[in-house]
Symmetry: none
Subunit: 215 residues, 4 copies
């Protein structure tokens, strides 16, 4: 791999600072984690967006959450076709190997992936409809959510689609036999959240009212 | 979605604590991020493992890193076949839409996904070879890395395979035309890292010596 | 004390979150508790096990329970020999100084201390029989309970021994003159409980049937 | 055990409420903890005082902290004499069996045990000097701390003695060979804290300045 480059100096410096402080103060815990393996309590499926850090919002320490991050926090439907499904592999590993107790899907405001899906479904982003568009094909997972949107302004409908991304993922999770079995056995629970980045809000999906409500 | 459950109470409490402190003290920055959108400097591709938090190691603030996390920090080869490729979508979005300056692939010690791949390639994990194994099919991406392993004990070869996971991903990244173009234009650089969880070590791939060295 | 280290950062953050929310919202009560001293209604003797939090199970507020936690929720017999007896000191303080109305002994499933005692009494843990084993000598308190076990599988007998740990402690409590006096005067009552961690069960000892029954 | 009584009704009601909510919402996690055992990150040694709940201050979930609570959060010196040492047993189990990464000693304001020790050492509490006083003999552990007190008012010296209770415990912890070995090997770190109940303060011992400072 001739193309790899040295790590930027400011990251090297930060790493050395972390090593001398956070690592040093928690060395025992890191060595414990290395020797004993991970036992996370929950899997979090969150967006790659740089503005959403679930470990910060929940004051999580190293070892607490098994975190999968992809564009728009999407889970595709169960499709054991022998192809590569990175998200499905992560869910399988968390539920069947780590036996996590919770899967939390965390959506957020201003999601670029959701916005792209909205434009594509509105017919205003032909480039995303091309077969070669990885973002477009990935966002196809959210099309059923777009179909369920009610009337409203573009901004309202985009916001509603962000929450649909959480609901579509929760529904698709239940299409995985090992998820369904664990949920029905009471050893796994699913949770849907949506984070308002600017206002610092956190809304949870409440099945009783079929709506998201500030926690 | 009848299956969603309320958020565990201790997470609700922690969230309210975060809102009253970290969010409150940085409200201006959160509102800026919401209004101006994200402008991350780098994309990080890291493992879902709960023991590896790149934001901690690099003291990253909200908004700095666009982070994709999957099992074993793998990037598949470029394959624009119209199917869903979550990792490829994340790379495409980071490089073509966000125009990040760096893509950092971060591997780590004790990786369960890599261990599974090693056992599978050694013929000792038939269940991972089944078509329906999402983890197995995902880890197929790393088979070329296994083929390149030199002789050694199982532990040595597993450790070497963790670094091959970084190198395979870096090589596959270059198979994406938009990555290759950006690298050759000098607007994007690729970096390979490997984190020793217990020792707090961080090694970077050095193309000059074709080896990983502590930074 | 040169060996003390700074508090891990995630705990500092969580503390600040607590201060800004739970403390802030209940400041009057905390100031009342500081000014007026504690007046707990009950003493709870529970295990150190991280999976058993009596304050959670009973929704206890700050100030309600005086809680002593040791390995396997054991109370040794009354032995005023001038040596250090931490558990006896806690019982003495609760009953004679705080004049609590209840002493609740709370056992639980999967108790590592009880398991060690079982293996030791079965002759399968010689290291616990050494004079220098603090855990072994502490678990000697439970030997009379082991002697009372009926026949059964190892798992059945271990479970029965967890309940014997509650009963031995209740019996030993009555060997303390100040406990016996208060019980006979009707100002103190003793209670035995056993928590099934996985099932969320709570069984109480019923002297009428000499058995534990789900409450 | 003829003396056990039924659980008070309000506690039965609270338990049923917990079962229907907190347990139900976290059933998967409780089942995980029961099946996989505990893997706490830290041991906390705290006072029995009803006003100090470390799980609240640190937003801790079930499974995070292995908690030993005794009068005045004291650790006696290492004394492998074959007698029953409940605190030493708890430390031994946490460090050698659970391999926790941190031991945190948490003192607090208005500690009744420390106050008793102060009065006893000042010669104003003869009843605590009797051989039969469990509290007195337990508080003997803190006598070396009393000897180190500087001049001041009774209130000032009592407050200083509360912090000495933390320091004496930290020093005594280092007298245990398995603690010392783990600290020197970097797999365990010790931490001293003091909680101001009324003000919601939390001070940490800083060896560099040999003083407690608000975190």
């Amino acid at each position: 791999m001739q193309h790899a480059r040295p790590l930027p100096g400011y990251l090297v410096k930060r790493y050395h600072g972390w090593k001398a402080t956070t690592y040093s103060e928690n060395e025992g815990w890191y060595r414990h984690l290395a020797a004993q393996g991970q036992h996370p309590r929950a899997m979090v499926i969150s967006c790659c967006d740089s503005r959403v850090h679930v470990t910060s919002i929940f004051g999580a320490d190293t070892g607490e959450f098994f975190i999968h991050r992809n564009i728009a926090n999407l889970v595709p439907p169960y499709e054991p076709d022998g192809n590569q499904h990175g998200t499905s592999a992560a869910v399988e590993y968390a539920v069947t190997a780590l036996k996590v107790a919770h899967v939390i899907v965390l959506g957020h405001s201003g999601c670029g992936g959701v916005q792209g899906c909205y434009e594509m479904c509105e017919g205003r982003a032909p480039q995303l409809e091309e077969k070669s568009s990885f973002v477009g094909r990935w966002m196809d997972i959210l099309r059923p959510g777009f179909e369920r949107l009610g009337p409203g302004t573009d901004a309202e409908r985009r916001g509603a689609l962000e929450k649909q991304a959480v609901l579509v993922s929760l529904a698709n999770l239940m299409s995985f036999p090992f998820v369904k079995d664990a949920v029905e056995a009471g050893t796994l629970s699913l949770h849907g959240l949506w984070n308002d980045i600017g206002a610092g809000g956190l809304e949870a999906y409440d099945p009783a009212t079929d709506s998201f409500r500030q926690v």
